[in-house]
Amino acid sequence: MTPVSTRTYLRRRHGRPTAVLGAAVLALGLAACAPGSTGGEEGGTETEASDVETDVAAMGDVTLTVWDQEVRGGQDEQIEELNAAFMEQYPNVTIERDSRSFNDLRQTLRRAITGDAAPDVVQANNGRTDMGQFVQAGLLRPLDGYAEVYGWTERFPESVRALASYTEDGATFGEGHLYGLAQVGEVVGVWYSKSKLDGLGLEIPTTTEEFEAALEAARESGDLPIQFGNLDGWPGIHDFGFVQNQYVSREEIRDLGFGREGASWTSEANVTAAETFTDWVESDYFTEGFNGLGYDPAWQAFADGEGTFLVAGTWLLADLEAAMGEDLGFFLPPVGPSGEQAVTGGTGLPFAITEASENPDVAAAYIDFITSEDAMTAIADAGNLPVVDADPSAVDGAQAEVFQAWETAGEQDALVPYLDYATPDSYDLLTAQVKALGGGSTSSEEFLDALESEYTSFTSENTGG
């Protein structure tokens, strides 16, 4: 487990003493103090568009503290370059960068943004247990005013902004105020080996029927159809979502994924999706014993030539391309009985401005700078998928196919959220349930009932609905 920093936490505040057990607390010498700081108003302080200052150079000497999780090679370099460029453009600004791995950031951010020395800009995980709770606690600022001034509303498609949007009470995800902007995009599609698909005499499958025919052909040729390692649990959410994309309508998946009322896990389309997933398992389309195989060993095996397809996210681009070169290809999930293109995906972690920031205008200018057109070019050069301005003609090989897929997903409004965004417990539930469904210890009926009961109990309790 990653060591947790021991920086300042828990500011005390006077609360209400309770008669009986208060005595016990008194004995501890900590009477009438509740843990935690007052934070801000629910939903954070909004800056009106008319009050936004954009002239950073005129703001005097400012130190901007930024917490990000871009620790990997290309991304790290890209951020460093952008930070240096920002400071060069505005010599009055000093950026203090603190970069941590995703897990480390997730575990420490909670205490850092409630502390006295909270950073100005933080990369916050989109989900309910992170960004949602921060919004509710009034620890992040809504960015709508800035979005108006900097033109983010036009620049970033709605499906992308939705992934960093919450209502003020943090209860409704995907709507309400904008709380952050991300640099990179990601979709979960199909990686494939070009030579293997050629060898089978097949084109890229665009429908479920074609895809299933390709799986069967791959199996008959003696190859593993879909490389899949689900020991970590979360890849199962992606592979099940991939099947669901083909059978269930986008609107329904969005309602389920954002935990909004109006959808059902037990709908006919979801039943067919779950049954298809089981069929594929029983037809040996997935790696044998996938529940015991790790995610990394699985994609590494695919890169080594074991498997015709790999259902995974675009974040593997740099790693897979390094191993497979020209042979690597990528396409969106085939269109199935739902009749419309859907693809699970979203953005990297959004950059948000904390309530505690003393220079929100500078912070907003910084976020605008690192998501500008030039920044997007730097991101593409680093081998990643920029969230906007991804121009397929400017790159080649698998990266061009990834950019194309992202463009198509944007044009067709095909993006659907990760299913585990739905409720605070849905990550645990989905990982366990997909494992059980794939391992054969639960039926597709029990699987869907379990998900439905979590979904309905959450949506009925969640006031934001």
């Binding site: 935690g36 943004i113 409630t114 606690a137 649990g233 015991g292 790790g294």
Partner: protein, 304 residues
């Protein structure tokens, strides 16, 4: 009055029996006491305090009294993790102690050439970081790993499975690793214990006609009472607070492999349920405390 008192005190200090700890002793105790209070007592009390609130780590907590305790004790989702911990005690504690007794008995009786080497090898798992241990065993238990390879090689194809992904076997595999880690510790402890048994006792037993097994139970085992208590304490504690092996080898999936420490981490660090997380941690601490006290009581009683 004050005068008399101070004279009385002074008299006591000078006139007391030699070696009686005076107030000066506290001066010597102070450094340890300060460290203890700062790093153990204070966090413990603070945890108790936090456990009385519903708090997400962000906003101001809400006083809920003992509600967290009621919630934790009645939460059906928490029963499995504690039962899992019991299963792990079997693998981490009882099996290594029994194996350790057997191995130590054999090794003490038949001094092998290079027994120092074997002892070192057996003890090695204790030295390696558990994260490394977990990663290495993950490879062995992988679907295409060494264990399944071995089973196929001997023709037991139907026994192969995705060990770590199988709800029935996943925790057992973690248990097996625990046995592997714990056995070396037990052997080394017991060998040290057996070494202090006077030779004469063995000779006497032999003269009485005891065979090797009888000899071990009559002479060796009673002498090892203290060591067994130590081994049980260490391994039971290790089993109850297991986190790293489960986290590394299996990750966060499924009720069938949840353990109490994982629940603490998940609730307090990831889900923003600090109050319940801390409450589980405190209950786990209490369970561990009771277990160690019980083990030591039992060991003492067996001796009297």
């Amino acid at each position: 009055m004050a005068d008399t008192l101070s004279r009385a005190r002074a008299g006591r200090r000078h006139g007391g029996p030699p070696g009686e700890p005076g107030r000066i002793a506290y001066l010597y105790l102070a450094p340890a006491l300060v460290v203890f209070a700062l790093f153990l007592l204070f966090p413990l009390l603070r945890s108790v305090w936090l456990s009385l609130y519903e708090w997400n780590g962000l906003t101001v907590g809400t006083w809920v009294g003992l509600d967290n305790y009621t919630a934790v004790l009645t939460d059906p989702a928490l029963r499995r993790p504690f039962l899992n911990a019991l299963l792990l005690i079997g693998f981490f504690s009882f099996v290594p102690v029994v194996l350790g007794l057997g191995l130590a008995g054999l090794m003490a009786r038949n001094p092998l050439r290079g027994s120092g080497f074997f002892r070192t090898v057996l003890f090695l798992p204790q030295v390696v970081a558990l994260v490394v241990v977990g990663v290495a065993w993950q490879d062995i238990f992988a679907p295409a790993g060494q264990l399944n390879g071995l089973l196929r090689w001997v023709g037991l194809d139907s026994w192969t499975r995705a060990w770590l992904g199988d709800p029935t076997f996943a925790l057992v595999t973690v248990g097996v690793v625990g046995t592997w880690v714990g056995t070396g510790l037990c052997v080394v402890l017991f060998l040290a214990g057996l070494a202090k048994v006077p030779r004469e006792l063995y000779e006497a037993a032999r003269l009485d006609g005891a065979r090797p097994v009888r000899e071990f139970f009559a002479v060796g085992l009673p002498a090892l009472r203290g060591e067994i208590a130590v081994a049980l304490t260490l391994t039971v504690v290790a089993a109850l607070r297991t986190f790293d092996l489960v986290y590394v080898m299996i990750g966060s999936t499924g009720q069938s492999t949840r353990v109490p420490s994982y629940e603490v981490y998940d609730r307090a660090m990831l889900k923003g349920e600090v109050g319940t997380g801390v409450t589980i941690a405190l209950l786990l601490t209490a369970v561990i405390l009771v277990a160690t006290v019980l083990i030591n009581r039992l060991a003492e009683r067996a001796g009297s």
